[in-house]
Structure formats: C-alpha cells, structure tokens
C-alpha cells in the first residue's frame, strides 16, 4: 500500500492567520496545531532560554482562562496537549475528540488575543523555577546530558543564534522580567506570524467559521522584525575537539558536523545516510562497531534540520569497557569516510527507502503528526504541499548523491568531536 496523499485547504484570514485544514473522518479525532514563527534563534543576548520560558507562560492563563486551566479543560474534554520550543519555532497543539474541536480553537485564540491580561510576576516566577528544574533534569543531572548544547556551541559561532541551546542559561533565566514577556508577546505572537492546522474529523467550512469567530478579532502585528542574515560557511574549516569529564561509567564519543539547511535536497540524502550508517543492526556502524569488532555498546547517527544557515548531523558511539577510546573514534570515522568514497550498494539504498516509506505510512496515519507537518512546511517553507512531496524526494535520492554529500559533510575539517570520559578515569590520567 502506498502512502495516501494528504488533501488540504490553505487560506488566510484578513489578519494574516494562515489556516490549513485536512479532513479525515476515519476516527472521531481531530488535531489542532499552531506554529509560531519564533524560536530560540530570535532571542536577544542575555536572554537565552526565553522563547521556551515564554512557552510555559502560555499555559499560565489569559483573560478568560485561569492558571493551568488550559490543560485542565483540554484533559477534561478527553484531549491531550503540549507545547514545544526549538531553534526555529514554537508550537502548541491539542488532539481532541472531534466534538470538542471548538473548545481547542477557543483556548488557542484566548491566549493569542489576551495573554497579557492575566500575566503576573508570581506566575512568571513559578514557571522560571519549573524551567530551571527542567534544565537540571534534562541536561545538568543526566549522564552525557550536555552534549547537545556543547555541539551547538562548537558548530555555530558565538554571534550566530544557533550558538546557544533552547533551554538557555540559568543566569539568563534569572534575568527574565515581566517586561521581557510583554515585549516578546507583542512582537512575535500575532496571527500573521502563525500557521494553524486542523486535521481530522472536522469539516472545512465549519472550521473556517469557528476560526473567523475566535481568531478574527485579534489584530495583526504589521511590523514583525526580520532576522538578519544567518548564512554560514558550509563547513567549519577545522576540526574542533573537547574532552568532558562527567559522572558516566562508559566513555562516549560524540561527532557533530555542520550540514546543509533543512529543505536542501542534500539533507534528504544525509537522512538516508543516517539510516545506512546507524539505522538498526544491519547498518554499517552497528555491524562493525557493535557486532563484529565489539568496540561499542551502542551507536547512533542522525540529522537535526534547521533553516537558518546550517543543520546538524550528529552521532555517537558508547565505548565498551576496556576498549581504547581512540580506536572507537577511528573506526567510526572510517565508516563515515568510506561512505564518502563509494556509494552505498543498491540493496542498502532500497532497504533504507523501504523503511522510510513504512515509517511515513505509520507517521502520517496519525492526525497529530499530519497537523504538525503541515504547520511546519507552511511556516518554514511557505509550502504545506511538501507533506506529499517529501517521500518522493527521499525515494528519488541516488547512491551517488549520498556519497557526494558524505564526502562534503562527514569529513574531519567539518567535525566536532566531544569525548565524555568517566570522572575517575580523568583524574587518573591527570595524575599520571
């Protein structure tokens, strides 16, 4: 069975809100998803982590919704919800039983229209503490938990907004004020900076009527700032290395590479390279490092796509006890290098494509995923139709394209190597 085409409508309200609706009446379920075109890349110096802190404030109430009541109402309606912040965007979403769709639209409109009416210092302070505990839990008190912020710091220069992580720094979180919240909201949270997707058991005309009713009275912001030029040299130019002493029992070597931007077809080829290199136990890195030579406990390789200058290709190998860390690094690097020298076999390529096709079939069967993809492609590329064209793009990638992008990207002078060593081992080495 091939992956079904997603049929959708695409229109704009007079205030600039982009509305995308895809009907699907298989299950009595509907997904609402809003992407705001604002992420951690829009943060000001000294205010890292602010876009994400702000996302938390969006659940603290608005003119007609109390603190934490947004979530209470969605859950009591039998729905699920969340919000996430990333470098390029912030999104908010609800999945509802279809007869509760109108409630989700009303809730999203109320906070977009009136968030500042309910804003208080007490709620900001409370969520600041919650976010600091999120940072401790997700990064600081987790083995290897700092790898992502360290890779970003090395792969992007200090003046580039991808240099800092989405979670930000404790100092900057402490510095965030009510005035920062107000300015951020007034600047970025406007209907003409948002894409609203509704997917599932709903009728387009009814959705439009409700969206007009609830969102229609929210004014546009006529002066949304343009981000400056985020372009970067395509490669780092020289290898960067860091050794991290951490509370870990096994060493782990992380690799990071500056990669083509999201949307560039070369990044599609790198995604396929990730499957060939580390997707399951038939993959090259797993076979060599984990199975055959038994150097590594586990391996990974993947891409994180961004639109502003460059993406990240990254991966790791966890070193087995008693194995020389440099030997693991060398074997890992050799496999990346080999992919740059000769194309994958036809069988490797067709297996990778068959898996991607099956993954797409599974992912797009969920209304929540479809809504998120439509919002994503509309926000980042002004092209929601990519939801139907990405799979054909993957299926068209050739072995030679994979080889070429591997030869350009997965090379030593475009590489960051982070080596995590057990703290005790490090002390012994320093004493020696």
């Amino acid at each position: 069975m091939s992956v079904p085409t997603v049929e959708f409508s695409d229109e704009r309200l007079p205030n600039g809100l982009r509305l995308i609706v895809a009907e699907d009446h298989l299950a009595p379920v509907v997904a609402v998803n809003i992407w705001y075109d604002v992420g951690s890349k829009h943060e000001q110096p000294g205010r890292t982590g602010f876009a994400h802190l702000f996302e938390h404030v969006m659940f603290q109430g608005s003119a007609h919704v109390g603190k934490a009541e947004h979530i209470a109402l969605v859950q009591a309606a039998g729905g699920t919800m969340n919000g996430t912040t990333w470098l390029d965007r912030t999104n908010y979403f609800e999945t509802m039983p279809s007869h509760q769709l109108e409630l989700a639209l009303w809730l999203e409109a109320d906070r977009l229209g009136t968030l500042l009416d309910a804003l208080s210092q007490e709620n900001l302070d409370n969520q600041r503490e919650v976010v600091k505990n999120e940072k401790r839990w997700s990064y600081d008190n987790r083995p290897y938990g700092t790898w992502n912020e360290k890779l970003q710091g090395h792969l992007f220069p200090p003046e580039h907004p991808y240099h800092h992580s989405t979670i930000g720094s404790m100092e900057d979180l402490d510095a965030a004020s009510l005035d920062d919240v107000k300015a951020f909201f007034r600047t970025w949270y406007a209907p003409n900076n948002a894409v609203l997707s509704v997917v599932g058991d709903a009728h387009r005309a009814q959705v439009r009527e409700w969206v007009d009713r609830y969102f229609g009275g929210i004014p546009a912001n006529p002066s949304i700032p343009e981000l400056g030029d985020l372009s970067l040299p395509p490669t780092l130019g020289a290898e960067r290395r860091e050794v991290v002493h951490d509370q870990v029992p096994l060493p782990r070597v992380y690799f990071g590479f500056r990669a083509p931007v999201f949307g560039d077809e070369r990044l599609d080829a790198l995604d396929l390279a990730g499957q060939i290199l580390a997707g399951g136990k038939g993959s090259r890195l797993h076979r060599r490092l984990v199975r055959d030579e038994r150097l590594a406990q586990d391996v990974a390789f993947f891409t994180l796509g961004f639109v502003g200058g460059a993406s990240i290709s990254a991966g790791w190998a966890t070193v087995r006890p008693g194995v020389d860390v440099e030997r693991v690094e060398r074997a890992y690097a050799e496999e990346l290098e080999r992919l740059g020298m000769e194309p994958p076999t036809d069988d490797e390529l067709s297996r990778a494509k068959a898996l991607i096709e099956a993954d797409e079939l599974g992912a797009l069967s969920r209304v929540e995923e479809r809504a998120d993809r439509l919002s994503m492609y509309a926000t980042l590329f002004d092209d929601p139709g990519l939801i139907n064209r990405m799979l054909p793009r993957y299926l068209a990638v050739t072995g030679e394209q994979i080889r070429a992008v591997a030869a350009d990207v997965l090379v030593p002078d475009n590489r960051v190597v982070l080596t995590y060593l057990p703290a005790e081992t490090a002390q012994i080495e320093e004493a020696a």
């Binding site: 379920v29 999120e134 929210i218 912001n221 969920r366």
Partner: protein, 499 residues
C-alpha cells in the same frame, strides 16, 4: 508592535454531540493447538501491526537465571536455522519491516509493523524467528555483556538509579519484583546460550499464546495465514519454572510481598547533585483486580493528570519540579505504586512532605465532584484517541490476553469508568495508598539536605554512599539487590491513567 486591542469571545464553547465510538470488536478464532487469534480490520490503516504474545515472562524464570527471559528476547532475532542475523534483518528491511522482540515481567512478544501488502512474507519471517532461533553462543555472550554495561549505565543515571533503589527497598528478598526484569549483575553474569535456550524453550507455549493483528486487512485471510504459520507449534516439554504452569489461575500466586511494613527513608548520597530524585512507593495491585477502574480514576486525580493534586502542588504552586506524578505499574502480580519527582536539592525535604501529605489527603475525604468529573471525562474521552492507529489496538488486545481479562474488557471500559463514584475513589485510596508503609528513596546530595531531613522526622533514615560501580573497580556502596525499570508491560492497560 501590535496595534489595537484584540477582540475575543469570552464565552466558552459547549461541546458538540460526540460521534459514537466503540472499541473495534476483533474477530477471533482458536487454532487446534490452542493459540488464540484475534484480528481487527481498520480500513485505511496501511501500516499493519502483528504481534505474537505468550504469557510467559521474566516473572516465570528461575531466580538464579534472572534476566534470561529478557536476554532470550534480545537474542531471538540473532539467527535462525535458515538465516543468520544480518540476513534476517535485511530480509525484513526489504519488506519495509522491522521485527522486534521483547520480554517483560509478564510476557514475551515478537512483533512486526509492515505495510499490509507485505504482511504475509513478514509474518513468515516472524514465525521463523519465533520458532527456529539458534541463539548463537557468541551473540548471546555479546548481548549479555551489553546488558552488564547497561547495568553500569543505569547506576550512573539518577532516574534509573532511583527506580532500581526504590524496588530494592519495597519488595521482599524472596520477590522477583525486587530485581530488574533484565536481571542483576550476579545472575546476568552466569547467563549463556544454554540458559537462554532453556528458558526460551518453555516460553512459547501455544496454550498461553495469542496472535493479534490490526490494520487494513482487506483481502487477507487471517485464520488461514495464522494456521499455516503457527498451527503446528507444540506444547513445550519442559516449563521454565515449577512455580507457574502458564494457564489461567493454575499457578501459585507471584511473590509480591513487601520488604517491611513501616515507613523508612533510604538516601543514596551523591555529593554535588543539583537535583534529588524522589521515589515514594510500596507494592500496588495486579492488573486483574476488581478495583482497576476506580484505581484509574483515583490515580488520575492524585498524580496522573497534569492538574493532578500532586503536580499542581509541587510544580504549579511551588515550582519544585518539572513534573510530579504517581502511578501503579500493574502486572500479573502486584507491581509497585510509586510517586515520582525530581526536585532542586534545596526543595528535597518540603517536596517529600508535600507528597506524603497528598498521599494522606486522598485517603482523608472524598474528592470533589469537579475532580471526579474531570478524571472520568479525561479517561473516557481520551480512549478513542489512544486507539486511532493499529499499534495501540493490537497492544491493548495483547494486554487482554496477557492478563486473562474478559473479551469485552475494552468495549466496557468507558462504561466502567463512568460509573466510578467519589465513594469508590475514597475506598480504593484507603485500601491501596499506604504512606505509612512506603519506602522513601532519594538519590541526591545528602550533605545539602541531611540536617533538614533528620529534623523533619519523616522516618528512620539510612544513608548509602553511592558510587558509579566502575568496571573493574569496587562494587557499588550498598551491596543491596537492584531492581529494574525495564519491566513495564507494554501490552497491558495498567498505565491507562497516565497521558
């Protein structure tokens, strides 16, 4: 900057008419050898899930081979009489399929997700893996070593350490639930091909097995397919454990007794830790329990919903944590009830006190009508959302088989939740939440909160110097048995309250 003021509609919309929803009724048959077959045709769901499940898991293995069932499941895809591991995975990938096998406390599952047009060849591979594994010694040794390394990793990770430490503090020395489903160092070290093959040979018992398939099955004759691939599996000659015969009600109860019946605090001291992982728990209830639905509602109110009492107190009022929750891990035996939070170090003692206070309060009086209604409406409303796609449908049906629940367990779920009253919630809270008997386990910096902890007089305090248990180095500080977080039953309905 935005010009003008937003005009929004103050009035909350009222819900429309719910579209009728019934959990899809599976078609069923039983093969001559006793294997139950259940399948659900879900039109338009092109990615089909097929799961072979057998009611034999880690709880059934001999204690001295702890971890053998989990290791057997990991090793079962390492080669068959017809194909080596790489040939197998490549054959599956050409179909766009990946075959996965897991053993939980309660069950072995071997499953595949595959585009429906290729279900038949994918099921053939699944049957080959299930029926003809060779367990090559070198690969079993490698996977055993990977588990031993994983034990090191678990000890270093504060959240995994806390889960293991809690279960070791909760269950009696004789209980299997005191150990990780994937085994302890001392048992895993002795596992080899022979142990794995021997435990596995008893697990695939047709009388305790089911094949569940969900997705767009147009044009497929499931009974014929199932019969041809699984119909001649014979009952194993030797059962893996004398304790369990693997059929309904015929084995002795699983030993799920507590270590003690008084409250105590155990601190795993980690100098410099920026957070404390808090776990408060005691043995809970088995999945097949008459209070299941009332417990689901109670647990949602206490610590399941975002707006649960515990999360509202610890997160939204105090800001101590990114999230606090409670839950019952319902297994064939009484898996643990656990309250969980990771809090900044300074908040450790007040967070424990607030958590214990909420465990008391849910026992002190009836929940409000609003709380009751919100929890019931959530559980009823979210039910269709959970079953939008084939994977969860097959998983829920597998859970019904594992826990030997009635065929109509899923179709009557929403009605059963609807009829739970505030009096039911109070009764099950008083019966199944026991803060006076709970183990309080902390992984964090005792130097920072120790004085406050002793002054708070929560319970007698035991402090253990935690260490990373480095390979080749000294053993971890306490020498106590560890217990796993790996034993959750993916097929059951036990976690239904936790979205």
């Amino acid at each position: 900057m935005t010009t003008g003021r937003a005009t929004v509609i103050a009035e909350r919309p009222v819900p429309g008419t719910p579209r009728p929803y019934e959990f899809p009724t599976p078609e069923r048959t039983t093969l001559a050898n006793g294997i139950a077959v259940a399948w659900v045709h879900m039109p338009g769901r092109g990615l089909v899930t097929a799961t072979f499940v057998t009611r034999q898991g880690a709880v059934d293995e001999p204690a001295e081979l702890g971890g053998a069932a989990v290791l057997a499941a990991r090793a079962v895809t390492e080669g068959t009489e017809l194909h080596d591991a790489i040939a197998l995975v490549e054959a599956a990938e050409r179909l766009g399929a990946s075959i996965h096998a897991e053993a939980s406390w309660d069950a072995l599952t071997v499953g595949v997700d595959v585009p429906g047009a290729r279900l038949s060849p994918a099921l053939e591979l699944l049957a080959e893996v299930l029926r003809r594994p060779t367990f090559p010694a070198a690969e079993v040794d490698r996977l055993r070593d990977e588990r031993l390394n994983d034990i090191l990793q678990a000890r270093a990770d504060p959240r995994r350490r806390a889960e293991e430490a809690l279960i070791a503090a909760v269950y009696a020395v004789s209980s299997p639930y005191r150990r990780p489903a994937a085994g302890l160092r001392e048992t895993v070290e002795r596992l080899d091909r022979e142990a794995v093959a021997s435990v596995y040979s008893g697990m695939v018992d047709p009388g305790a097995s089911a094949l569940v398939i969900a997705g767009d099955l147009a044009g497929l004759d499931v009974p014929v397919l199932a019969g041809s691939l699984f119909g001649d599996i014979r009952r194993p000659a030797v059962m893996p454990s004398a304790a369990h015969a693997g059929t309904a009600g015929s084995g002795p109860a699983i030993d799920d007794r507590p270590l003690r019946r008084d409250r105590r605090v155990r601190v795993h001291h980690r100098p410099g830790s920026v957070q404390t992982e808090i776990r408060i728990g005691h043995p809970g209830v088995p999945r097949r329990h008459p209070d299941f639905h009332a417990l689901s509602v109670m647990s949602s109110i206490l610590g399941g919903l975002f707006n649960s009492r515990l999360n509202m107190k610890l997160r939204e009022e105090k800001g101590y944590t990114y999230g606090a929750s409670t839950g019952f891990d319902m297994r064939r035996g009484a898996g643990p009830f656990v309250a969980r939070a990771a809090v900044n170090t300074e908040a450790t003692v007040p967070a424990i006190q607030d958590t214990l206070a909420e465990l008391e309060r849910i026992r002190d009086g009836e929940v409000s009508d609003a709380e009751l209604r919100a929890a019931r409406d959530y559980l009823i409303g979210v039910f269709p959302l959970r079953f939008e796609t084939p994977g969860p449908v097959a998983g829920a049906l597998a859970g019904v088989h594992i826990h030997e629940l009635p065929d109509d367990e899923l179709s009557r779920y929403r009605t059963a939740i609807e009829t739970v009253t505030a009096a039911d919630v109070l009764r099950v809270a008083r019966e199944h939440i026991r803060p006076e008997e709970a183990a309080v386990v902390l992984v964090g910096d005792h130097d920072a909160f120790g004085d406050a902890l002793h002054a708070a007089s929560i319970a007698p305090v035991e402090v253990i110097e935690d260490s990373l248990d480095m390979p080749g180095g000294p053993e971890g500080g306490d020498g106590s048995a560890d217990a796993a977080i790996g034993g959750r039953d993916d097929g059951g309905m036990g976690d239904v309250a936790h979205g």
